[in-house]
Symmetry: C2
Subunit: 387 residues, 2 copies
């Protein structure tokens, strides 16, 4: 796509039930991204701003992108809000990469934000629920935990996968979250604890579900020539793919796997000129433990039904053959809707540059970010690599 885009900076707030409001969270992520640029960057050279958010804490619901210019102290910066539910961040990064690809900008910033814990429980359910099909599923009472519970039941039955595979995803997520100072959950759990959580939507229990989190993340993208002025180790966007599907899960031919993820992945691999076997790090959309298993299969990283065994064998741990979600994932790091897809790129930026500290995975050169909206009605897959 035109000139190649690269990530040159990334910032991240603490994820969790934190006291900060939306503006402060956004500021932390934006300033963090600016401060992270190796050779410094004058904020006035940023040409476009993107804001990924579903509800902005139920506060500045319309026209919220203008807040990015305010909090960045860049009056007049062209800004736009991108919303594709939980995939807002992934789509916003792709829009920014295309703006750079088109030559319309040499430097763009993408921020993702959600403030979810200081609103009423009813409003929280509303902001979460609105991204599922409204006519036939949400208003009939089908929650996201419900959808993923149905998927998990069928997955375990069809492929004869033991429920321990789900627990293994949770244990690995918490192991990684414990090493991430920005994670919502920073403590390890045992497989027994994970399996013994109170049921939420059978077979999914408490430890199979990502939390409701506040948080923000931001990344700075530049054209290749501009990127090299700011750093010797830009992280290149090699390929972007996206797709959609019926909002209502009942309209899809099969529950196991998301066609949108599969199509987005195929497009991303094609654009990047690589294959699943070339991937050495994965940021997968694990809103529920079952979702991580599906993601690995949809991304072509495991054959159908094989992701459970792969996880049980430890392949997806930080020191495994294919580390998945070394930051703790949505499951342990947390899932502030609009921030999630941007946070995935933040983690890839740290990992591919070898700056991930105690949670660093060895030898990662090429990573895939997989961000899903709702129960798979939209999906964005982005492939990145380091020089």
């Amino acid at each position: 796509m035109g000139q190649r885009a690269a990530v040159v900076g990334a910032g991240h707030s603490r994820f969790g039930a934190v006291p900060e409001g939306p503006r402060a969270l956004l500021r932390t992520a934006l300033e963090g991204a600016l401060a992270s640029v190796d050779r410094g960057l004058d904020r006035r050279t940023i040409e476009r701003g993107y804001l990924a958010t579903l509800g902005f804490g139920g506060w500045q619901i319309g026209n919220a992108s203008a807040v990015v210019a305010e909090e960045l102290r860049c009056p007049g910066l062209p800004t736009v809000r991108i919303e594709n539910a939980c995939a807002s961040g992934g789509f916003a990064v792709q829009e920014a990469a295309r703006a750079i690809g088109s030559g319309a900008a040499d430097l763009a910033i993408v921020a993702g934000l959600e403030k979810m814990t200081d609103v009423s429980s009813a409003r929280r359910r509303y902001w979460l629920g609105v991204s599922g099909d409204t006519e036939w599923e949400r208003q009939a009472g089908l929650t996201f935990a419900g959808v993923y519970g149905l998927i998990a039941s069928q997955y375990l039955a069809r492929y004869r996968v033991p429920p321990e595979a789900l627990a293994a995803v949770a244990v690995k997520a918490h192991e990684n979250g414990a090493l991430n100072p920005n994670a919502h959950f920073q403590k390890r759990i045992s497989r027994e604890q994970a399996a013994a959580g109170p049921k939420v939507a059978d077979p999914l229990g408490l430890y199979d579900c990502c939390p409701v989190s506040d948080g923000a993340a931001a990344v700075l993208l530049a054209s290749e020539a501009t990127a090299r002025r700011y750093t010797d180790t830009p992280v290149f966007v090699d390929g972007a793919g996206a797709s959609s599907d019926f909002l209502a899960v009942q309209e899809r031919p099969d529950l196991l796997g998301f066609a949108a993820s599969r199509r987005a992945a195929a497009a991303a691999y094609r654009a990047a000129g690589c294959r699943p076997a070339d991937v050495s790090l994965v940021e997968a959309h694990d809103c529920f433990t079952i979702a991580e298993l599906l993601a690995l299969e949809d991304l072509g990283l495991a054959p159908p039904g094989a992701a459970g065994a792969m996880t049980l064998a430890g392949a997806t741990r930080r020191d495994g053959a294919l580390p998945v979600n070394p930051d703790g994932g949505l499951k342990a790091k947390g899932h502030p809707i609009g921030a999630t897809g941007v946070s995935q790129i933040y983690e890839i930026f740290q990992q591919l540059r070898g700056h991930a500290g105690p949670r660093q995975v060895p030898n990662a050169r090429r990573a895939v970010a997989h961000n899903v909206g709702g129960a798979g009605a939209t999906a964005a897959v982005t492939i990145l690599s380091v020089g």
Copy 2:
């Protein structure tokens, strides 16, 4: 910006208080855009979809972009929602143009939609109000009519403009709307009627305010090479500019004129390589009559304070020196938030190709579309021309 984008098709629903729901409105606009392509177009060749909407009728609030793929009957089409309040449509068109510019797509569709009349009055106010500054202005009771009333008071006083100038904008809008079968208001009004409307926010009366409308519009954009396969008269996107400003009006140094519009216009003229004097048709964001006067000045088409006299002299009528809003504008055609910016491009597509029927303006070759979010916190200006 990379390869040049061109409009090759456009569709439009009726605007107004119409019985159709969001899906039907969207379908009308999408199918209209497809049907309008001179040499026909296989919908399966569309590579990206954009949805501009603020509230989707309060129904599919999250992840709504997937509905575009459903209603277009293009399963899997990558779709994304763009929301910048009343400027959502203008920004969505610009995102699509950049996707084409980057080479990521050769054919993209942009739909704008709002369903506003079959929701409760409280919810309607909410969906309208949310785009103003929440912390300091909306929650203190400042409505959009209030903001524009303050602006109008100051405008009339500072420039010694007679209130008849506002009425003249309304009369001209209704004259044009009367010739537009899709307009919300299709009847003429006299200057006396316009001036005698009940006061809404002094000096603005009923006839100074755009209505609350349902509606949808869609445009098809293609790369230049692809466009020429579909039509002999593509309408080219010559330049796109955008900007932002403080959400709170009280933080801006001056009420008269929107800095975001001025900066967006400067960027668009620069990108298009033309000057205001080269423009022969304007689609201006006239959510209130005063807004059209401000727009003409912000776009460099009238000196500060001179747009009133220009309007009173008839220059902005269909047969005037510079026709403005020949479709009736937001004021008479209606203002279904997300649809408005797309509808502006629809009108320019018809006018520049000479297909506008009874409301056709003579000799239009280059047009500017001006789309404002909230009370000027975001703005998108797009310049288009025909062969």
